[in-house]
Protein backbone atom coordinates (compact mmCIF):
# COMPACT_ATOMS: atom_id res chain seq x y z
CA UNK A 1 0.00 0.00 0.00
CA UNK A 2 1.43 3.28 -0.98
CA UNK A 3 0.11 6.63 -0.11
CA UNK A 4 0.65 7.86 -3.64
CA UNK A 5 -1.63 5.11 -4.90
CA UNK A 6 -4.37 7.02 -3.28
CA UNK A 7 -4.13 9.82 -5.77
CA UNK A 8 -7.30 8.40 -7.22
CA UNK A 9 -9.58 8.43 -4.31
CA UNK A 10 -13.04 9.01 -5.48
CA UNK A 11 -15.37 10.02 -8.19
CA UNK A 12 -12.76 12.35 -9.51
CA UNK A 13 -9.07 12.60 -9.39
CA UNK A 14 -6.76 14.39 -7.08
CA UNK A 15 -4.00 16.03 -8.98
CA UNK A 16 -1.24 17.58 -6.98
CA UNK A 17 -0.20 21.04 -7.99
CA UNK A 18 2.70 20.53 -10.34
CA UNK A 19 6.16 21.03 -8.99
CA UNK A 20 7.95 23.82 -10.76
CA UNK A 21 10.85 21.87 -12.07
CA UNK A 22 13.50 23.47 -14.24
CA UNK A 23 12.27 23.84 -17.79
CA UNK A 24 14.24 22.68 -20.72
CA UNK A 25 12.80 24.61 -23.60
CA UNK A 26 11.91 28.22 -23.20
CA UNK A 27 10.12 30.18 -25.81
CA UNK A 28 7.26 32.59 -25.62
CA UNK A 29 6.74 31.14 -22.17
CA UNK A 30 7.52 34.29 -20.26
CA UNK A 31 4.60 36.13 -21.75
CA UNK A 32 2.13 36.13 -18.87
CA UNK A 33 -1.24 36.50 -20.68
CA UNK A 34 -0.45 33.28 -22.54
CA UNK A 35 -2.14 31.26 -19.84
CA UNK A 36 -5.39 33.11 -20.39
CA UNK A 37 -5.33 32.50 -24.13
CA UNK A 38 -7.01 29.10 -24.14
CA UNK A 39 -9.76 29.87 -21.61
CA UNK A 40 -10.59 33.06 -23.49
CA UNK A 41 -10.75 31.23 -26.81
CA UNK A 42 -12.94 28.50 -25.34
CA UNK A 43 -15.25 31.05 -23.78
CA UNK A 44 -15.43 32.99 -27.02
CA UNK A 45 -16.24 29.93 -29.11
CA UNK A 46 -18.88 28.90 -26.61
CA UNK A 47 -20.40 32.35 -26.66
CA UNK A 48 -20.38 32.51 -30.47
CA UNK A 49 -21.91 29.08 -30.78
CA UNK A 50 -24.68 30.06 -28.40
CA UNK A 51 -25.13 33.44 -30.08
CA UNK A 52 -25.62 31.95 -33.53
CA UNK A 53 -27.70 29.14 -32.05
CA UNK A 54 -25.49 26.40 -33.43
CA UNK A 55 -27.22 23.98 -31.09
CA UNK A 56 -30.59 23.79 -29.43
CA UNK A 57 -30.76 26.84 -27.16
CA UNK A 58 -31.90 24.64 -24.29
CA UNK A 59 -28.68 22.67 -24.51
CA UNK A 60 -26.27 25.28 -25.71
CA UNK A 61 -26.89 27.97 -23.15
CA UNK A 62 -24.62 30.94 -23.44
CA UNK A 63 -21.92 31.62 -20.87
CA UNK A 64 -23.63 34.79 -19.72
CA UNK A 65 -26.87 32.90 -19.10
CA UNK A 66 -24.99 30.55 -16.80
CA UNK A 67 -23.29 33.46 -15.11
CA UNK A 68 -26.47 35.47 -14.69
CA UNK A 69 -28.38 32.44 -13.44
CA UNK A 70 -26.32 32.61 -10.29
CA UNK A 71 -27.78 36.04 -9.53
CA UNK A 72 -31.13 36.44 -11.23
CA UNK A 73 -32.68 33.02 -11.71
CA UNK A 74 -34.63 31.74 -8.67
CA UNK A 75 -33.31 28.19 -9.13
CA UNK A 76 -29.83 29.40 -10.09
CA UNK A 77 -29.36 31.81 -7.24
CA UNK A 78 -29.73 28.93 -4.81
CA UNK A 79 -26.23 27.94 -5.91
CA UNK A 80 -24.76 30.04 -3.10
CA UNK A 81 -26.78 28.34 -0.43
CA UNK A 82 -26.11 24.98 -2.06
CA UNK A 83 -22.38 25.57 -1.92
CA UNK A 84 -22.64 26.37 1.78
CA UNK A 85 -24.72 23.27 2.40
CA UNK A 86 -22.20 21.12 0.56
CA UNK A 87 -19.33 22.66 2.49
CA UNK A 88 -21.08 22.01 5.79
CA UNK A 89 -21.65 18.41 4.77
CA UNK A 90 -18.02 18.14 3.71
CA UNK A 91 -16.86 19.52 7.04
CA UNK A 92 -18.67 16.99 9.18
CA UNK A 93 -18.06 14.01 6.89
CA UNK A 94 -14.41 14.84 6.55
CA UNK A 95 -14.00 15.37 10.27
CA UNK A 96 -15.39 11.92 10.98
CA UNK A 97 -13.49 10.15 8.21
CA UNK A 98 -10.20 11.90 8.79
CA UNK A 99 -10.27 11.26 12.54
CA UNK A 100 -11.01 7.60 12.00
CA UNK A 101 -8.30 7.50 9.34
CA UNK A 102 -5.78 9.12 11.63
CA UNK A 103 -6.63 6.72 14.44
CA UNK A 104 -6.30 3.67 12.21
CA UNK A 105 -3.15 5.04 10.57
CA UNK A 106 -1.62 5.68 13.95
CA UNK A 107 -2.53 2.23 15.18
CA UNK A 108 -1.28 0.36 12.12
CA UNK A 109 1.73 2.61 11.79
CA UNK A 110 2.89 2.17 15.33
CA UNK A 111 1.77 -1.27 16.39
CA UNK A 112 2.69 -4.13 14.13
CA UNK A 113 0.02 -6.34 15.66
CA UNK A 114 -2.58 -3.90 14.36
CA UNK A 115 -0.67 -3.48 11.12
CA UNK A 116 -0.55 -7.13 10.29
CA UNK A 117 -4.14 -7.75 11.17
CA UNK A 118 -5.77 -4.61 9.75
CA UNK A 119 -3.76 -3.46 6.77
CA UNK A 120 -4.34 -6.35 4.36
CA UNK A 121 -8.09 -6.12 4.83
CA UNK A 122 -8.05 -2.36 4.36
CA UNK A 123 -5.96 -2.75 1.22
CA UNK A 124 -8.45 -5.21 -0.19
CA UNK A 125 -11.50 -3.14 0.70
CA UNK A 126 -9.92 -0.09 -0.86
CA UNK A 127 -9.95 -1.79 -4.23
CA UNK A 128 -13.72 -1.62 -4.34
CA UNK A 129 -14.57 1.66 -5.98
CA UNK A 130 -16.27 3.59 -3.21
CA UNK A 131 -19.13 4.54 -5.47
CA UNK A 132 -20.02 0.87 -5.71
CA UNK A 133 -20.71 0.84 -1.98
CA UNK A 134 -23.66 3.19 -2.40
CA UNK A 135 -26.38 0.59 -3.04
CA UNK A 136 -25.25 -1.40 -0.04
CA UNK A 137 -24.80 1.64 2.17
CA UNK A 138 -28.26 2.93 1.33
CA UNK A 139 -29.57 -0.54 2.07
CA UNK A 140 -28.00 -0.47 5.49
CA UNK A 141 -28.29 3.09 6.55
CA UNK A 142 -31.20 4.39 4.54
CA UNK A 143 -31.46 6.93 1.81
CA UNK A 144 -30.60 10.00 3.78
CA UNK A 145 -28.06 12.09 5.54
CA UNK A 146 -26.56 9.25 7.59
CA UNK A 147 -25.52 7.39 4.48
CA UNK A 148 -24.18 10.54 2.87
CA UNK A 149 -22.05 11.26 5.90
CA UNK A 150 -20.76 7.71 5.97
CA UNK A 151 -19.92 7.86 2.29
CA UNK A 152 -18.06 11.16 2.64
CA UNK A 153 -16.27 9.84 5.71
CA UNK A 154 -15.16 6.78 3.74
CA UNK A 155 -13.77 8.90 0.93
CA UNK A 156 -11.66 10.74 3.48
CA UNK A 157 -10.85 7.70 5.58
CA UNK A 158 -8.83 5.65 3.12
CA UNK A 159 -6.28 8.22 1.97
CA UNK A 160 -5.81 9.57 5.47
CA UNK A 161 -5.33 6.13 6.99
CA UNK A 162 -2.98 4.93 4.28
CA UNK A 163 -0.83 8.05 4.23
CA UNK A 164 -0.61 8.18 8.02
CA UNK A 165 0.36 4.53 8.08
CA UNK A 166 3.02 5.12 5.45
CA UNK A 167 4.27 8.22 7.15
CA UNK A 168 4.92 6.34 10.35
CA UNK A 169 6.44 3.40 8.56
CA UNK A 170 8.77 5.51 6.52
CA UNK A 171 10.45 7.43 9.28
CA UNK A 172 14.09 7.07 8.29
CA UNK A 173 16.00 4.52 10.27
CA UNK A 174 18.78 7.07 10.68
CA UNK A 175 16.56 9.23 12.88
CA UNK A 176 15.24 6.31 14.85
CA UNK A 177 18.80 5.29 15.55
CA UNK A 178 19.76 8.79 16.57
CA UNK A 179 16.84 8.82 19.01
CA UNK A 180 17.89 5.45 20.39
CA UNK A 181 21.46 6.52 20.89
CA UNK A 182 20.15 9.57 22.75
CA UNK A 183 17.99 7.16 24.75
CA UNK A 184 14.90 9.33 24.46
CA UNK A 185 12.00 8.39 26.72
CA UNK A 186 8.99 6.95 24.86
CA UNK A 187 6.92 10.10 25.20
CA UNK A 188 9.74 12.35 24.02
CA UNK A 189 10.33 9.94 21.19
CA UNK A 190 6.72 10.24 20.13
CA UNK A 191 6.48 13.98 20.58
CA UNK A 192 9.88 15.00 19.26
CA UNK A 193 10.52 12.41 16.58
CA UNK A 194 7.64 10.22 15.51
CA UNK A 195 4.89 12.80 15.17
CA UNK A 196 6.93 15.57 13.55
CA UNK A 197 8.63 13.11 11.21
CA UNK A 198 5.28 11.73 10.13
CA UNK A 199 3.70 15.16 9.80
CA UNK A 200 4.42 15.75 6.10
CA UNK A 201 2.98 12.36 5.17
CA UNK A 202 -0.04 12.88 7.37
CA UNK A 203 -0.58 16.29 5.79
CA UNK A 204 -0.44 14.75 2.35
CA UNK A 205 -3.06 12.26 3.44
CA UNK A 206 -5.30 14.96 4.84
CA UNK A 207 -4.87 16.95 1.66
CA UNK A 208 -5.77 14.07 -0.62
CA UNK A 209 -8.53 13.11 1.78
CA UNK A 210 -10.02 16.58 1.76
CA UNK A 211 -10.11 16.88 -2.01
CA UNK A 212 -11.46 13.34 -2.23
CA UNK A 213 -14.10 14.07 0.38
CA UNK A 214 -15.25 17.09 -1.60
CA UNK A 215 -15.86 14.93 -4.62
CA UNK A 216 -17.43 12.40 -2.27
CA UNK A 217 -19.74 15.10 -0.96
CA UNK A 218 -20.98 15.92 -4.43
CA UNK A 219 -21.31 12.23 -5.33
CA UNK A 220 -23.28 11.55 -2.18
CA UNK A 221 -25.64 14.43 -2.84
CA UNK A 222 -25.99 13.31 -6.40
CA UNK A 223 -26.56 9.63 -5.83
CA UNK A 224 -27.97 9.19 -2.33
CA UNK A 225 -31.53 10.25 -1.73
CA UNK A 226 -32.90 13.72 -2.32
CA UNK A 227 -30.35 16.14 -1.15
CA UNK A 228 -29.63 19.81 -0.99
CA UNK A 229 -26.14 21.04 -1.81
CA UNK A 230 -24.45 21.38 -5.18
CA UNK A 231 -24.94 17.71 -6.06
CA UNK A 232 -28.64 18.12 -5.38
CA UNK A 233 -28.70 21.26 -7.50
CA UNK A 234 -27.19 19.41 -10.45
CA UNK A 235 -29.75 16.63 -10.11
CA UNK A 236 -32.48 19.24 -10.00
CA UNK A 237 -31.07 20.85 -13.12
CA UNK A 238 -31.08 17.53 -14.90
CA UNK A 239 -34.57 16.67 -13.78
CA UNK A 240 -35.91 20.02 -14.91
CA UNK A 241 -33.78 19.82 -18.01
CA UNK A 242 -32.10 23.11 -17.22
CA UNK A 243 -28.67 23.03 -18.78
CA UNK A 244 -27.81 26.41 -17.31
CA UNK A 245 -28.40 25.10 -13.79
CA UNK A 246 -26.36 21.98 -14.48
CA UNK A 247 -23.46 24.04 -15.83
CA UNK A 248 -23.73 26.48 -12.98
CA UNK A 249 -23.61 23.65 -10.46
CA UNK A 250 -20.64 22.00 -12.15
CA UNK A 251 -18.78 25.31 -12.35
CA UNK A 252 -19.47 26.01 -8.70
CA UNK A 253 -18.32 22.59 -7.56
CA UNK A 254 -15.15 22.93 -9.62
CA UNK A 255 -14.34 26.37 -8.27
CA UNK A 256 -15.05 25.41 -4.69
CA UNK A 257 -13.03 22.22 -5.13
CA UNK A 258 -10.17 24.21 -6.56
CA UNK A 259 -10.33 26.59 -3.62
CA UNK A 260 -10.36 23.74 -1.15
CA UNK A 261 -7.34 22.16 -2.82
CA UNK A 262 -5.43 25.44 -2.83
CA UNK A 263 -6.34 26.19 0.78
CA UNK A 264 -5.25 22.72 1.82
CA UNK A 265 -1.87 22.98 0.18
CA UNK A 266 -1.34 26.44 1.65
CA UNK A 267 -2.22 25.18 5.09
CA UNK A 268 0.14 22.32 4.59
CA UNK A 269 3.11 24.46 3.63
CA UNK A 270 2.33 26.85 6.47
CA UNK A 271 2.21 23.98 8.91
CA UNK A 272 5.38 22.40 7.65
CA UNK A 273 7.22 25.70 7.55
CA UNK A 274 6.28 26.23 11.14
CA UNK A 275 7.88 22.96 11.99
CA UNK A 276 11.10 23.74 10.16
CA UNK A 277 10.32 20.99 7.71
CA UNK A 278 10.86 23.07 4.64
CA UNK A 279 13.19 25.93 3.91
Amino acid sequence: MECTDMADVSAGTFIPVAASAPRIHRGLARWAPLTLLLPVIILLLWWLAAYFELGSPQLLVSPQTVFLAAFTDPAGSSVWLSAVQSLARLASGFAIGASAGLAVGLLTGLASLADRSLSPTLAALRQITLFAWIPLLTGWFGNGEVTRQIYIALTAFFPVALCAHDAFRRIPLAWLEAASVLRLKPLTRLRRLVLPAALPGICTGLQIGLVGAWLGTISSEYAIGISDGLGGLIVLGRQQFRMDIVLLGVTALTLVGYGIGAAASRTRSYLLRHHGLSK
Binding site: S56, Q239, Q240
Partner: protein, 327 residues
Amino acid sequence: QEWPEVIRIGAVPSASGKAFATGLTGVAHVKEFVEAEFKDTPVKVEWVYLTGAGPAINEAFANKQVEFGQYGILPSLLGHSRGLPTKAVLAYGGVSTFAVVPKDSPVQSLKDLKGKRIGTMLTTMMHWALLEALAQEGIAPDEVTIVGLQGLDLLPAVTSGQVDAVFSASELLTLEEQGLAKVVFSSRNGNPLTAGQGNYVADKDFIEQYPEATQRVVNGLLKAGYWLAQPENREENFEIWAKSGVSPSILAAELDGVDLKSLINPRLDEFYRGRVAAAVDFAQQEKLLRGDVNPEDFYDDRFYQKAIVELGYENFWPDRTADGRVK
Protein backbone atom coordinates in the same frame (compact mmCIF):
# COMPACT_ATOMS: atom_id res chain seq x y z
CA GLN B 1 -55.01 0.22 23.93
CA GLU B 2 -51.34 0.07 22.98
CA TRP B 3 -49.91 2.70 20.64
CA PRO B 4 -46.67 2.87 18.73
CA GLU B 5 -44.47 5.86 19.42
CA VAL B 6 -44.17 6.85 15.82
CA ILE B 7 -45.60 5.83 12.49
CA ARG B 8 -43.33 6.45 9.51
CA ILE B 9 -44.82 6.45 6.05
CA GLY B 10 -42.31 6.12 3.24
CA ALA B 11 -43.20 7.65 -0.09
CA VAL B 12 -41.78 8.31 -3.52
CA PRO B 13 -41.04 12.00 -3.94
CA SER B 14 -42.11 13.95 -6.98
CA ALA B 15 -40.00 13.80 -10.08
CA SER B 16 -38.68 17.30 -9.55
CA GLY B 17 -36.70 16.15 -6.55
CA LYS B 18 -38.59 18.01 -3.84
CA ALA B 19 -39.72 16.26 -0.67
CA PHE B 20 -43.39 16.35 -1.60
CA ALA B 21 -45.64 14.03 -3.43
CA THR B 22 -48.60 14.42 -5.73
CA GLY B 23 -51.68 12.23 -5.64
CA LEU B 24 -53.24 10.89 -2.53
CA THR B 25 -50.09 10.96 -0.49
CA GLY B 26 -49.55 14.64 -1.24
CA VAL B 27 -53.01 15.53 0.01
CA ALA B 28 -52.84 13.26 3.06
CA HIS B 29 -49.46 14.75 4.02
CA VAL B 30 -50.26 18.41 3.51
CA LYS B 31 -53.76 18.32 4.94
CA GLU B 32 -52.64 16.03 7.79
CA PHE B 33 -55.43 13.52 7.38
CA VAL B 34 -53.50 10.71 9.02
CA GLU B 35 -52.27 12.91 11.84
CA ALA B 36 -55.86 13.87 12.56
CA GLU B 37 -56.72 10.22 13.21
CA PHE B 38 -54.20 10.13 16.02
CA LYS B 39 -55.12 13.43 17.69
CA ASP B 40 -56.20 11.70 20.89
CA THR B 41 -53.07 9.52 21.07
CA PRO B 42 -49.35 10.16 21.67
CA VAL B 43 -48.56 8.75 18.22
CA LYS B 44 -46.40 10.86 15.91
CA VAL B 45 -46.78 10.52 12.16
CA GLU B 46 -43.75 11.08 9.91
CA TRP B 47 -43.60 11.27 6.15
CA VAL B 48 -40.35 9.93 4.75
CA TYR B 49 -39.55 10.69 1.12
CA LEU B 50 -37.12 8.24 -0.37
CA THR B 51 -35.54 8.82 -3.74
CA GLY B 52 -34.57 5.72 -5.51
CA ALA B 53 -38.27 5.00 -5.41
CA GLY B 54 -39.23 1.33 -5.10
CA PRO B 55 -35.83 -0.11 -4.25
CA ALA B 56 -35.27 2.50 -1.55
CA ILE B 57 -38.61 1.79 0.08
CA ASN B 58 -37.94 -1.94 0.04
CA GLU B 59 -34.62 -1.28 1.75
CA ALA B 60 -36.33 0.92 4.28
CA PHE B 61 -38.75 -1.88 5.14
CA ALA B 62 -35.90 -4.34 5.49
CA ASN B 63 -34.20 -1.91 7.83
CA LYS B 64 -37.34 -1.31 9.86
CA GLN B 65 -37.04 2.35 8.95
CA VAL B 66 -40.69 2.69 7.90
CA GLU B 67 -43.96 1.11 8.98
CA PHE B 68 -45.88 2.06 5.84
CA GLY B 69 -44.77 2.65 2.30
CA GLN B 70 -46.45 3.97 -0.80
CA TYR B 71 -44.95 2.73 -4.05
CA GLY B 72 -45.55 0.84 -7.22
CA ILE B 73 -47.16 -2.56 -7.25
CA LEU B 74 -44.20 -4.03 -9.08
CA PRO B 75 -41.41 -3.02 -6.71
CA SER B 76 -43.50 -3.79 -3.66
CA LEU B 77 -44.21 -7.24 -5.03
CA LEU B 78 -40.50 -7.77 -5.72
CA GLY B 79 -39.74 -6.88 -2.12
CA HIS B 80 -42.48 -9.13 -0.83
CA SER B 81 -41.31 -12.01 -3.00
CA ARG B 82 -37.82 -11.72 -1.56
CA GLY B 83 -39.21 -12.15 1.93
CA LEU B 84 -40.04 -8.66 3.16
CA PRO B 85 -42.77 -8.96 5.80
CA THR B 86 -45.05 -6.62 3.88
CA LYS B 87 -48.77 -6.57 3.15
CA ALA B 88 -50.65 -4.24 0.82
CA VAL B 89 -53.40 -2.53 2.79
CA LEU B 90 -54.75 0.01 0.31
CA ALA B 91 -54.46 0.82 -3.35
CA TYR B 92 -53.02 4.14 -4.28
CA GLY B 93 -54.42 4.72 -7.68
CA GLY B 94 -52.74 5.41 -10.91
CA VAL B 95 -49.46 7.05 -11.61
CA SER B 96 -49.95 8.66 -14.99
CA THR B 97 -47.59 7.62 -17.71
CA PHE B 98 -46.61 9.49 -20.83
CA ALA B 99 -44.81 8.94 -24.07
CA VAL B 100 -43.05 11.93 -25.58
CA VAL B 101 -41.27 12.39 -28.89
CA PRO B 102 -39.09 15.23 -30.19
CA LYS B 103 -41.04 18.33 -31.19
CA ASP B 104 -40.52 17.91 -34.92
CA SER B 105 -41.04 14.15 -34.96
CA PRO B 106 -43.65 12.84 -37.42
CA VAL B 107 -44.91 10.48 -34.71
CA GLN B 108 -48.45 11.38 -33.70
CA SER B 109 -49.46 8.49 -31.50
CA LEU B 110 -48.22 5.25 -30.02
CA LYS B 111 -49.24 3.47 -33.21
CA ASP B 112 -46.59 5.30 -35.15
CA LEU B 113 -43.93 3.95 -32.85
CA LYS B 114 -44.00 0.50 -34.42
CA GLY B 115 -40.47 -0.43 -35.41
CA LYS B 116 -39.02 2.52 -33.53
CA ARG B 117 -36.74 2.87 -30.52
CA ILE B 118 -38.46 3.64 -27.23
CA GLY B 119 -36.52 4.43 -24.09
CA THR B 120 -37.74 3.55 -20.63
CA MET B 121 -36.46 2.33 -17.27
CA LEU B 122 -36.16 -1.43 -17.60
CA THR B 123 -37.70 -3.74 -15.02
CA THR B 124 -39.78 -1.00 -13.44
CA MET B 125 -43.43 -0.18 -13.35
CA MET B 126 -42.85 2.06 -16.38
CA HIS B 127 -41.51 -0.78 -18.46
CA TRP B 128 -44.53 -2.82 -17.53
CA ALA B 129 -46.95 0.02 -18.30
CA LEU B 130 -45.27 0.57 -21.67
CA LEU B 131 -45.83 -3.03 -22.66
CA GLU B 132 -49.51 -2.66 -21.67
CA ALA B 133 -49.85 0.56 -23.63
CA LEU B 134 -48.27 -1.00 -26.72
CA ALA B 135 -50.54 -4.04 -26.39
CA GLN B 136 -53.54 -1.69 -26.38
CA GLU B 137 -52.43 -0.52 -29.80
CA GLY B 138 -51.83 -4.06 -30.95
CA ILE B 139 -48.09 -3.71 -30.98
CA ALA B 140 -46.17 -6.76 -29.74
CA PRO B 141 -43.05 -6.22 -27.60
CA ASP B 142 -40.79 -7.46 -30.38
CA GLU B 143 -42.18 -4.95 -32.86
CA VAL B 144 -40.34 -2.11 -31.16
CA THR B 145 -36.85 -1.75 -29.73
CA ILE B 146 -37.00 -0.96 -26.05
CA VAL B 147 -33.88 0.87 -24.96
CA GLY B 148 -33.02 0.71 -21.29
CA LEU B 149 -32.29 4.09 -19.77
CA GLN B 150 -31.84 5.29 -16.22
CA GLY B 151 -34.22 7.90 -14.86
CA LEU B 152 -32.29 11.09 -15.46
CA ASP B 153 -31.15 10.02 -18.89
CA LEU B 154 -34.62 9.87 -20.39
CA LEU B 155 -34.83 13.58 -21.14
CA PRO B 156 -31.53 14.01 -22.97
CA ALA B 157 -31.97 10.69 -24.76
CA VAL B 158 -35.08 11.88 -26.56
CA THR B 159 -33.98 15.45 -27.19
CA SER B 160 -30.69 14.28 -28.67
CA GLY B 161 -32.63 11.94 -30.94
CA GLN B 162 -30.99 8.88 -29.56
CA VAL B 163 -34.36 7.22 -29.17
CA ASP B 164 -37.54 8.02 -31.04
CA ALA B 165 -39.63 8.27 -27.90
CA VAL B 166 -39.38 7.90 -24.17
CA PHE B 167 -41.99 6.46 -21.87
CA SER B 168 -42.20 7.42 -18.22
CA ALA B 169 -44.05 9.47 -15.61
CA SER B 170 -44.81 13.19 -15.35
CA GLU B 171 -41.16 14.29 -15.31
CA LEU B 172 -41.37 14.04 -19.10
CA LEU B 173 -43.78 16.97 -19.14
CA THR B 174 -40.85 19.29 -18.47
CA LEU B 175 -39.79 18.74 -22.05
CA GLU B 176 -43.17 19.74 -23.42
CA GLU B 177 -43.19 22.78 -21.18
CA GLN B 178 -39.83 23.83 -22.61
CA GLY B 179 -41.07 23.26 -26.13
CA LEU B 180 -38.59 20.49 -26.84
CA ALA B 181 -40.99 17.62 -27.18
CA LYS B 182 -44.61 16.73 -27.55
CA VAL B 183 -46.71 14.22 -25.69
CA VAL B 184 -48.10 11.52 -27.94
CA PHE B 185 -49.58 9.34 -25.24
CA SER B 186 -50.99 9.86 -21.77
CA SER B 187 -52.56 7.23 -19.56
CA ARG B 188 -54.76 9.92 -18.05
CA ASN B 189 -57.32 9.89 -20.75
CA GLY B 190 -56.89 6.27 -21.69
CA ASN B 191 -57.03 2.86 -20.24
CA PRO B 192 -56.09 2.59 -16.53
CA LEU B 193 -54.07 -0.51 -17.41
CA THR B 194 -51.53 1.76 -19.01
CA ALA B 195 -51.04 3.79 -15.87
CA GLY B 196 -48.59 2.68 -13.24
CA GLN B 197 -50.56 1.33 -10.33
CA GLY B 198 -49.38 1.78 -6.79
CA ASN B 199 -50.35 0.70 -3.30
CA TYR B 200 -49.85 1.38 0.38
CA VAL B 201 -47.92 -1.41 2.00
CA ALA B 202 -47.57 -2.02 5.73
CA ASP B 203 -45.16 -3.99 7.84
CA LYS B 204 -46.75 -7.29 8.87
CA ASP B 205 -45.35 -7.20 12.38
CA PHE B 206 -46.74 -3.72 12.81
CA ILE B 207 -50.18 -4.76 11.63
CA GLU B 208 -50.22 -7.61 14.09
CA GLN B 209 -49.00 -5.59 17.01
CA TYR B 210 -51.03 -2.43 16.33
CA PRO B 211 -54.20 -3.33 14.42
CA GLU B 212 -56.00 -0.29 15.74
CA ALA B 213 -53.24 2.07 14.63
CA THR B 214 -53.17 0.40 11.24
CA GLN B 215 -56.88 0.89 10.94
CA ARG B 216 -56.56 4.56 11.72
CA VAL B 217 -53.85 5.06 9.11
CA VAL B 218 -56.03 3.42 6.48
CA ASN B 219 -58.96 5.54 7.60
CA GLY B 220 -56.93 8.71 7.30
CA LEU B 221 -55.72 7.83 3.85
CA LEU B 222 -59.20 7.01 2.67
CA LYS B 223 -60.49 10.30 4.03
CA ALA B 224 -57.77 12.07 2.08
CA GLY B 225 -58.85 10.21 -1.03
CA TYR B 226 -62.42 11.22 -0.40
CA TRP B 227 -61.44 14.82 0.06
CA LEU B 228 -59.41 15.07 -3.09
CA ALA B 229 -62.15 13.51 -5.17
CA GLN B 230 -64.56 16.34 -4.32
CA PRO B 231 -64.90 18.68 -7.32
CA GLU B 232 -64.84 21.77 -5.08
CA ASN B 233 -61.35 20.81 -3.85
CA ARG B 234 -59.92 20.50 -7.35
CA GLU B 235 -58.09 23.86 -7.33
CA GLU B 236 -56.71 23.30 -3.85
CA ASN B 237 -55.47 19.88 -4.95
CA PHE B 238 -53.45 21.51 -7.68
CA GLU B 239 -51.96 23.94 -5.23
CA ILE B 240 -50.97 21.12 -2.89
CA TRP B 241 -49.42 19.13 -5.71
CA ALA B 242 -47.61 22.21 -6.94
CA LYS B 243 -45.49 22.06 -3.79
CA SER B 244 -43.63 19.29 -5.53
CA GLY B 245 -42.36 21.71 -8.14
CA VAL B 246 -44.84 21.84 -11.03
CA SER B 247 -46.86 25.02 -11.47
CA PRO B 248 -50.59 24.78 -10.64
CA SER B 249 -51.53 26.11 -14.08
CA ILE B 250 -49.64 23.36 -15.82
CA LEU B 251 -51.28 20.79 -13.58
CA ALA B 252 -54.67 22.27 -14.35
CA ALA B 253 -53.97 22.17 -18.06
CA GLU B 254 -52.60 18.66 -17.91
CA LEU B 255 -55.49 17.31 -15.91
CA ASP B 256 -58.10 19.27 -17.80
CA GLY B 257 -61.15 17.07 -18.09
CA VAL B 258 -59.63 14.24 -16.10
CA ASP B 259 -61.81 12.90 -13.31
CA LEU B 260 -59.69 12.77 -10.22
CA LYS B 261 -62.07 10.35 -8.53
CA SER B 262 -61.48 7.65 -11.08
CA LEU B 263 -57.81 8.52 -11.54
CA ILE B 264 -57.06 8.11 -7.87
CA ASN B 265 -59.06 5.14 -6.76
CA PRO B 266 -57.81 3.43 -3.59
CA ARG B 267 -60.03 0.36 -3.75
CA LEU B 268 -58.55 -3.10 -3.35
CA ASP B 269 -60.95 -4.30 -5.98
CA GLU B 270 -60.81 -6.79 -8.81
CA PHE B 271 -58.92 -4.36 -10.94
CA TYR B 272 -56.25 -3.96 -8.30
CA ARG B 273 -55.98 -7.71 -7.81
CA GLY B 274 -55.76 -8.16 -11.53
CA ARG B 275 -52.90 -5.69 -11.64
CA VAL B 276 -51.06 -7.61 -8.94
CA ALA B 277 -51.48 -10.85 -10.87
CA ALA B 278 -50.27 -9.13 -14.05
CA ALA B 279 -47.27 -7.74 -12.19
CA VAL B 280 -46.35 -11.25 -11.09
CA ASP B 281 -46.56 -12.41 -14.70
CA PHE B 282 -44.46 -9.52 -15.89
CA ALA B 283 -41.86 -10.10 -13.19
CA GLN B 284 -41.63 -13.77 -13.99
CA GLN B 285 -41.33 -13.03 -17.68
CA GLU B 286 -38.52 -10.57 -17.01
CA LYS B 287 -36.85 -12.98 -14.55
CA LEU B 288 -37.15 -10.47 -11.74
CA LEU B 289 -38.49 -12.96 -9.24
CA ARG B 290 -36.79 -15.73 -7.36
CA GLY B 291 -39.21 -18.57 -6.88
CA ASP B 292 -42.98 -18.23 -6.82
CA VAL B 293 -45.17 -15.66 -5.15
CA ASN B 294 -48.76 -16.10 -4.21
CA PRO B 295 -50.51 -12.80 -4.98
CA GLU B 296 -53.24 -13.69 -2.48
CA ASP B 297 -50.62 -13.64 0.22
CA PHE B 298 -49.59 -10.12 -0.71
CA TYR B 299 -52.63 -8.11 0.37
CA ASP B 300 -54.51 -7.85 3.59
CA ASP B 301 -57.80 -6.09 2.90
CA ARG B 302 -59.33 -6.30 6.40
CA PHE B 303 -58.61 -2.69 7.24
CA TYR B 304 -59.78 -1.43 3.88
CA GLN B 305 -63.03 -3.41 4.12
CA LYS B 306 -63.72 -2.16 7.60
CA ALA B 307 -62.89 1.45 6.82
CA ILE B 308 -64.94 1.70 3.71
CA VAL B 309 -67.97 0.53 5.61
CA GLU B 310 -67.30 2.59 8.72
CA LEU B 311 -66.78 5.73 6.70
CA GLY B 312 -69.71 5.05 4.38
CA TYR B 313 -67.58 5.10 1.23
CA GLU B 314 -68.85 1.75 -0.13
CA ASN B 315 -70.24 3.31 -3.24
CA PHE B 316 -68.09 6.36 -3.53
CA TRP B 317 -65.39 5.02 -5.84
CA PRO B 318 -66.37 2.96 -8.83
CA ASP B 319 -65.80 -0.75 -8.53
CA ARG B 320 -63.75 -1.97 -11.48
CA THR B 321 -63.29 -5.21 -13.33
CA ALA B 322 -59.88 -6.75 -13.82
CA ASP B 323 -59.44 -4.97 -17.15
CA GLY B 324 -60.30 -1.58 -15.70
CA ARG B 325 -63.89 -1.15 -16.77
CA VAL B 326 -66.38 0.22 -14.26
CA LYS B 327 -68.74 -2.45 -13.12
